[in-house]
């Protein structure tokens, strides 16, 4: 199949899948979201205690099992890592913090926009700005070091995401007591688990195949004018927009949107932080989940950072809500941007003086 077919197929599955999941019971504009759904998983595991945000979302398990299966079938499952894991953990925390202030990962920002939520535009401008800042660090020599294929027992950790996903999936299917389930609020709204799983599996296989990544897409465009990844999101946006209009879910405006607020500065800065951290980590939250499923232990550490970030954001009341972003959240975003920029600044390689070839 040619690359244009994969672009169309991936965009369609993500765009239509996201809207259908809402039709089947997920909260509004919440079909797929790497950050919110991981936050709900953190809630189900007791990493945070917000009673309304607890459900081990099978969409994420589907992404991981789908990406793992594809990598295994194609002989591309190669556990590797060792490129500054602790920094990647911090970048994961920062990505989650920024996303929870805005209320969505970059994927959801676009899905929100496709349902008429104009706050998505503010956030996407912030996201692009953060990527632009990240690119400045990349061009200045930022580099977390090379990852290596694990040839010792660490390689077994490459299976951790898929094992975790299967255990969580069994837990959700059996309503197991080791998981918490919200009785009200967004965590209680979800499509039947089997539908969520199938939607996740299809999306996971395709995201792995195409290396779908929104921060990577903007980065590749700004750096070398490559539009492969952005085209996937273009197709996804059009598909989701059409489906939202068809199902009567499209409602244009800034206010009264599902799971959203209209504090423009903090929507902008929230996703600015995500864009900056994602560029320094080499991929947006969705991409980190897919990479971790393919055996990348650096991405796994980043995902663990995102889970911890969800705990921190809700434990310290930093996350945004329909009511907006509190003072603590505002300070946290600014501190987060400062910290992430410091990482970008400190991890520039010392370049050997350029000897111009004559």
């Amino acid at each position: 199949m040619s690359s244009i077919c994969w672009i169309l197929l991936t965009g369609l599955v993500f765009g239509l899948g996201a809207v259908l999941l809402v039709k089947f019971g997920n909260p509004g504009n919440y079909g797929y979201c790497a950050a919110c759904q991981l936050r709900d998983i953190a809630g189900a595991l007791g990493i945070h205690q917000v009673a309304t945000l607890q459900y081990a979302r099978p969409e994420i398990m589907g992404w991981i099992i789908g990406a793992f299966s594809l990598a295994t079938v194609r002989g591309e499952f190669r556990p590797r890592g060792g490129s500054n894991p602790i920094i990647r953990f911090l970048l994961g925390m920062m990505m989650m913090l920024g996303a929870l202030v805005f209320l969505g990962c970059p994927l959801r920002a676009l899905l929100r926009l496709s349902a008429g939520d104009l706050n998505g535009i503010t956030a996407l401008f912030g996201f692009a700005g953060g990527i632009g800042a990240g690119i400045w660090f990349l061009q200045s020599g930022y580099n977390l070091g090379r990852s290596r294929v694990h040839d010792n027992s660490v390689r077994y950790l490459g299976y951790l995401p898929v094992i975790g996903a299967i255990v969580l999936l069994i837990g959700v299917a059996m309503q197991a007591p080791f998981l918490q389930f919200s009785l009200k609020g967004p965590g209680s709204q979800h499509a039947p688990w089997l539908i969520s799983l199938v939607a996740g599996l299809a999306a996971g296989v395709l995201a792995a195949k195409t290396r779908m990544c929104l921060s990577g897409g903007v980065r590749d465009y700004l750096l070398v004018r490559d539009t492969y990844l952005l085209k996937i999101y273009g197709v996804m946006f059009v598909a989701a927009l059409a489906a939202n209009v068809y199902f009567g879910l499209f409602k244009i405006g800034f206010s009264n949107q599902p799971l959203a607020h209209s504090m423009h500065i903090w929507n902008f800065l929230g996703l600015f932080l995500v864009g900056l951290a994602a560029t320094l980590a080499g991929g947006c939250p969705l991409r980190q989940l897919i990479l971790s499923a393919e055996g990348n232990t650096d991405a796994l550490v980043c995902v663990l950072g995102m889970l911890a970030g969800a705990g921190l954001a809700h434990g310290l009341n930093l996350a945004g809500s329909g009511a907006g972003v509190g003072a603590a959240g505002q300070i946290a975003v600014l501190v987060g941007i400062g910290l992430t920029a410091a990482i970008g600044f400190l991890f520039r390689e010392k370049m050997v003086a350029l000897k111009e070839a004559i």
Binding site: Y142, N143, V224, G283, L291, K355, A357
Partner: protein
Amino acid sequence: MEIHVITFQSVAQAFRAEKILKNQDIAVKLIPIPRSLSGCCEGLAAKIAEPDITAAVEALSKSGVEMIQRGVRVRAD
């Protein structure tokens, strides 16, 4: 279609390489690392015509640019 690429440690090294090769009149185009080459999506690769690979790798090693893949043939995306 198959192409020949050189890959680097970092984005900054890729831009250095582009500058050096352009000074040497070797045609070069920076592209995202081909999907067949890396499961990871960090970084850029330099696409170079096959006859120029040896000269390009030599010029870059002389200038101290760290390369990972020194001219490998891959399927274009």
